[in-house]
Point group: C2
Chain length 137, copies 2
């Protein structure tokens, strides 16, 4: 069985660019995920999907937030405290965010996506397939 002091190392596979790097769409809801060139082969076939999952690492949070276990829902102090695992707060022991996004297009190692709730420069740690283009919701 696992030891309590096990830990695992995550390496970013890419990061979130600004939509300003996109020449053909200035909609601020559109963002670009740039996968590092050495991981580009991992994107092959992703064009078949209408939605994909992006996992990212909330790297801008101070390390001490990782020991916080209760938060006010939506950061609203008038709301009662609630366990972080009963929320989507960025504050949590392992600050991983997940977001289901719409894949607009792939250009080589760049994915143009809509609906990614993360800040520019955020490291991306994984991408997974969502719904295929020919599936209905």
């Amino acid at each position: 069985m696992m030891e309590l002091d096990d830990s695992f190392q995550i390496k970013p596979i890419g990061y979130l660019l600004s939509s300003e790097d996109s020449s053909d769409d200035d909609n601020s809801d559109v963002k670009i995920v740039e996968v590092f060139p050495r991981f580009q082969a991992g994107l092959e076939g992703i064009e078949d999907f209408r939605t994909i999952w992006i996992l990212f690492w909330l790297h801008n949070l101070p390390e001490e937030t990782r020991s916080v276990l209760r938060v006010h829902a939506q950061g609203d102090r008038s709301k009662p405290l609630r366990g972080v695992f009963a929320t989507h707060s960025p504050i949590r022991p392992n600050p991983i965010g997940i977001s289901r996004v719409t894949l607009i297009r792939r250009d080589a190692n760049r994915l143009l996506v809509r609906g990614l709730d993360a800040h520019l420069g955020t490291p991306v740690i994984d991408i997974k397939s969502g719904q295929r283009k020919n599936e209905t919701s």
Copy 2:
């Protein structure tokens, strides 16, 4: 901007017990997520949710699978190779699994869940809220 050699450290928050540890349900689709006692406060309020997301670390894979970027879909060699990010294969640079499960019950630091596609003993690295009990699908 991020350095290419950044890396982040993940600590397990718990792990997947066998359903045999559950005295009142022998359905093999039912599994128990045990959160380490020091993280128990993070579960407060999770009872309000009918579904939750479990993130886990596929700790049994050899380290070298982390450099594999193409896999046969569903592990079926008759199918064409496809980029790992266009799949849910456990083989990927950061072997994180995500699974949306039905929360049956919480007992202190244990969650009884249905639909978790992971092996016993798998380290759990995060839990996030899903759909509330009073929401319709």
